[in-house]
Symmetry: C2
Subunit: 360 residues, 2 copies
């Protein structure tokens, strides 16, 4: 049981580092807000247009604080706790490089508004170090009823790596387009990241294979600082937002969760946690592909008199929820969407529980 104790110690140290990251982020966001406002990096809250709050300059792209504090936490934890001869060092460094590259791209996008073609291309490049370093399986396990046709498992090789690359691109963009109301970007990140953490802890508890435990521990090392720093941002971004998170945050959060899923070897599970984002992506597809006209913002209509939002015909989950459940305030809509995210995550756990018999 010595290894298990070592593992618990590492996770605990990581939790402490994350806590410090939480405090640091909390302290830095008001400071950084002044800096970004000085540079005219601000936005108006479109969903409050017509009310006094709609004319306040809200500081934009505060995700940069979260990103930098996350990187510093992750690096300090690596320095303090991962032995220099660890096999995990190559994957950990690849993870840092990929995440850092995405933060850089996000911030450059926030400042300079890069064209969307570049936005699709560069995340794929950012994911490459990760795929290079990926040392896990490239096989899929075949469900028991089909074993007689395909054998126990199929090695997909580079196709599996391609799938993981696409997953990384999908995750970064999926969070970016499931957005637009106060608190949603950070809220969904926190809910998914907590589900990932719960999944990791259950898997470590349920397994005796140290290699398997290590993969999930690795995932915990990155997801704990993500939860901590995001929560600090959440307290500022919750309705009414005193800061906006920017593409910096959505790219960073999406890539970090993709990294965690890929290097923790549970990318399929991750995709189920992302159900609302997948639905939103599917609903957006006609407009993204240019079949239907796509306006600059695809936000609901805000009524300054009642303070309520009405769904429009634009294909986003936000609008679909408003059409399904009726007009409501921005805050209650955000809560509704986050609850839905939580339900999807719980459903994923249930699904895994059901399917266990079909696989191993």
């Amino acid at each position: 049981y010595k290894i298990e104790w070592e593992l618990k110690k590492s996770i605990l140290i990581n939790a402490v580092v994350s806590l410090l990251g939480f405090v640091l982020t909390l302290a830095l966001i008001p400071v950084a807000s002044k800096y970004v406002l000085r540079r005219n990096l601000f936005g108006y809250d479109i969903n409050k247009k017509g009310t006094p709050q709609g004319s306040v300059k809200v500081p934009e792209s505060l995700g940069i604080v979260v990103g930098i504090v996350f990187l510093v936490s992750a690096i300090l934890f690596q320095f303090a706790n991962i032995p220099a001869d660890s096999n995990w060092l190559v994957e950990y460094n690849a993870a840092l490089a990929s995440i850092c590259f995405m933060i850089l791209l996000g911030f450059v996008d926030d400042v300079l508004d890069i064209p969307w073609r570049v936005k699709l291309l560069l995340p794929s490049v950012a994911a490459l170090p990760l795929l290079m370093a990926y040392a896990g399986h490239t096989t899929i396990i075949i469900p028991k009823p089909l074993v007689q046709y395909f054998g126990e498992n199929i090695d997909l090789g580079w196709i599996y790596k391609l799938y993981m690359g696409l997953l990384a691109v999908f995750c970064t963009n999926a969070i970016n387009i499931h957005a637009g109301i106060n608190g949603l970007e950070v809220g969904q990140t926190v809910v998914i990241a907590c589900a990932i953490l719960a999944h990791n802890i259950m898997q470590i508890g349920g397994s005796k294979d140290p290699e398997y435990q290590q993969a999930h521990a690795f995932s915990i090392y990155l997801v704990q600082p993500l939860i901590a720093t995001s929560l600090a941002l959440f307290s500022f971004n919750w309705n009414p937002s005193s800061v906006f998170v920017g593409d910096t945050f959505t790219y960073f959060a999406g890539m970090t969760m993709a990294v965690v899923g890929i290097l923790g070897h549970f990318s399929e599970t991750l995709l189920i946690f992302f159900t609302p984002q997948v639905l939103n992506f599917l609903a957006s597809l006609p407009q993204l592909a240019g079949i239907i006209y796509c306006p600059r913002h695809r936000l609901p209509r805000f009524d300054p008199q009642s303070g309520l939002l009405t769904g429009t015909k634009d294909g986003t989950l936000v609008n679909i929820f408003l059409r399904l459940f009726g007009r409501r305030s921005e805050r209650s809509l955000c809560i509704l969407l986050l609850v839905f995210q939580g339900i999807c995550c719980c459903f994923c756990f249930y699904l895994r529980y059901i399917l266990t018999g079909w696989y191993k």
Copy 2:
């Protein structure tokens, strides 16, 4: 000789990738200039104040283009050419993470002007993944006359790692403060990087130890894209500058050269290549430490009538050269300083040649 041929092939592929990086940078800088101007990221050329050129808005921090193209080149080369089970992957990924983090910090500094305390602290954090991954010696070889006192070599352990960390912080800041006239930041980078490349090639040619050759090849893989992308920027930044490079470039270039020196295991040689930067740092020390008053810019005085620069009392190499060699135009001053940089590099090669007998 099979390994040697493999090595030559890799270096050649890297040269081709670098060439593509050169072309891409050349094409992207004019495009990116429009983007940064739109965001009011520009500066006035202080050394041309009083002439029509002094009132032109020059786009600032184009180093971001160089940085991103460098990262993309380095990642694509890694993907194409480094085997996934290579021992070098961990160091390569650490290098990418450290360099990317510095580009991010440089760009954030250009956009938001972060306080100088943070500027000293964060590069040390950025260097940590590198030191973690460093797998080379931590010993210094004792010169023959002293062997009887100290033995053949001393293992300095963590002190050597601390020295490397300080080297990284020094390199990033040294290039940043040896600046202020058109073309100097990029010019010195190109000269030093070429010296590094020459040093690497000579060492590979002169050695039979494959491990040693690999270390220098690794260094080439990163220094070739650096030269290529910097040269593209140089063509825009040469007097009269149509773009400025920003802290993004100086941080990126400094960190990349530090990385290359540390992971190529020739950090002592690198420090001699940096002689002008060391002199500039020593001359700046009284002002940086706050003993003497330090103005916002420590530039020479420009005379709009004659178009010549005169040295001031501020302790920088630029001013010392002007006082030593008399008033001159910005362009000829830059050439003079770059020639001095070249002489220092040649002197370093001569010194190594002389000292060989003392060591091995």
